[in-house]
């Protein structure tokens, strides 16, 4: 077992004062807990199980990301795969991610996913997921990890070789870009941050640059 400490960043700037009160809704918590297969043992001991509405603690901040992923489409509750990823992103993520765990991490990765036959599959969220990213970027990370949970890894080190590979980076870019353009109940800042992050991924995570920005 690892132990870690964290300081809570500004709650307005991260979007946790915007999304925190939305998360504090028992029906949503009950649903998310089952849909993403949270387990108490992975979210107690300071990770927020005992204070799910406390937006300074990891669990509430993870739920804020899930809320953002779930309710940002103007077409909700439609979740059709014939539409854009803002609409079906949550559907895909909750079906692909086997279980969602909180861990301290070692300061290098924001999240990681292990998947394969005959092993325990999981997605782990580390301290920098909760405290180093605003809410919309957390949602983008969940989409990225869900693509890995579905069995699609990167094909060029930590990068994807191309846009056509249709990997986790493309999916993250698409979700962030659609959120920036059409996300509802969001702030100007959160959408702009999503757009900038999408461009940073396009400009650095594809071996062959796709030739566009959003």
């Amino acid at each position: 077992m690892a132990s870690c400490t964290y300081s809570v960043p500004d709650l307005n700037a991260s979007g946790d004062n915007l999304y925190g009160p939305r998360v504090c809704w028992q029906q949503f918590i009950d649903w998310a807990w089952e849909a993403f297969d949270f387990d108490r043992d992975d979210w107690d001991e300071g990770f927020g199980y005992e204070a799910v509405c406390d937006n300074t603690q990891p669990l509430c901040r993870a739920l804020a990301g899930i809320f953002c992923l779930t309710y940002s489409s103007p077409n909700f509750p439609r979740e059709s795969y014939d539409s854009n990823i803002l609409e079906w992103g949550c559907r895909f993520a909750r079906n692909a991610i086997d279980e969602l765990d909180a861990r301290c991490g070692d300061g290098t990765a924001i999240a990681s996913t292990r998947t394969g036959p005959l092993i325990d599959n999981y997605t782990r969220l580390f301290l920098s997921f909760f405290y180093g990213q605003g809410v919309s970027l957390r949602a983008g990370t969940l989409v990225h990890e869900a693509r890995h949970a579905d069995g699609k890894g990167h094909d060029s080190g930590n990068n994807d070789s191309s846009w056509a590979y249709n990997g986790a980076w493309r999916w993250q870019v698409c979700w962030l870009a659609w959120y920036a353009a059409e996300g509802v109940n969001s702030s100007i800042a959160m959408r702009e941050q999503a757009r900038q992050r999408a461009n940073n991924i396009i400009n650095s995570r594809f071996d062959t640059h796709p030739g566009f920005n959003v």
């Binding site: 870690c4 300081s7 004062n17 649903w31 300074t56 854009n84 180093g132 990213q133 986790a168 940073n200």
Partner: protein, 238 residues
């Protein structure tokens, strides 16, 4: 964030919060900046209007830029969202005196890239700060033509690719395409041709059809309820 021992493969971890700083309590101007950040992150028209009012008020004070820069130095490095917001605010001011700070931020050395198999890392937050600085610098330069030359220096400094591309795009937007083309080596000239596309032009292929499993359907948002409720989610912001 401090990890005393990295997480292992088995067993859960424990975490504890440390008290944070209160950077906006130091002066009246810093408090007003804090109000600006609060409204910048609100989701309604009322908040957007309040943000514009705060920017107007801050623009009347000659010390506002200095205060925001001081706050940027004071806040914890790990608080990427707050640093990003302060940089965004400088773009809103569009004041020439912030240009050098923004340029320095854009070219500040990044932490080394993680060699191990990790996707996103805290370094991505640092890249976001630098690209935000370029975008705010564009807004300053659009009001103060003397600042435009800074983009040529930025390109010449050869920052990491994500920052370099933002600088190239900005220079083109400001009418400096020919000068930037001269600075870019042959293998990077493709950056001049990057298009900006509408979101409708990009898509992720889900590789599945609607007939498959939908899983646990999320509850309808409280906001879509039409019957009277004892409290409505639209007024819960502080």
């Amino acid at each position: 964030m401090v990890c005393e021992k990295p997480s292992g493969q088995n067993g859960s971890d424990n975490a504890a919060a440390q008290p944070g700083d209160r950077p906006f309590d130091s002066t009246a101007l810093a408090w007003l900046v804090g109000e600006g950040i609060r409204h910048l992150h609100s989701s309604d028209k009322e908040g957007e209007l309040a943000f514009q009012r705060v920017v107007e008020l801050l623009s009347h004070s000659r010390s506002s830029v200095k205060t925001v820069i001081e706050l940027s130095h004071r806040v914890a490095r790990e608080d990427v969202s707050l640093r990003w917001s302060l940089i965004h605010l400088l773009g809103e001011f569009g004041d020439e005196s912030s240009a050098e700070f923004l340029r320095q931020t854009a070219i500040e050395q990044l932490p080394a890239e993680e060699k191990r198999q990790v996707c996103e890392s805290p370094r991505d937050g640092e890249v976001l700060i630098r690209t935000a600085a370029v975008q705010s610098l564009v807004r300053v330069a659009s009001r103060h033509p003397a600042v435009q030359e800074m983009f040529l220096h930025l390109v010449a400094d050869r920052p990491v690719r994500a920052v370099l591309i933002e600088a190239v795009k900005a220079a083109i937007e400001l009418g400096l395409r020919d000068k930037v083309a001269q600075l870019l080596p042959e293998q990077d000239k493709w950056m001049l041709e990057i298009k900006r596309v509408r979101v409708q032009e990009i898509a992720a292929d889900p590789e599945r059809k609607d007939s498959g499993e939908r899983g646990f359907t999320p509850p309808k948002s409280k906001c879509s309820t039409t019957t009277p409720v004892i409290s409505c989610c639209s007024r819960t912001e502080k």
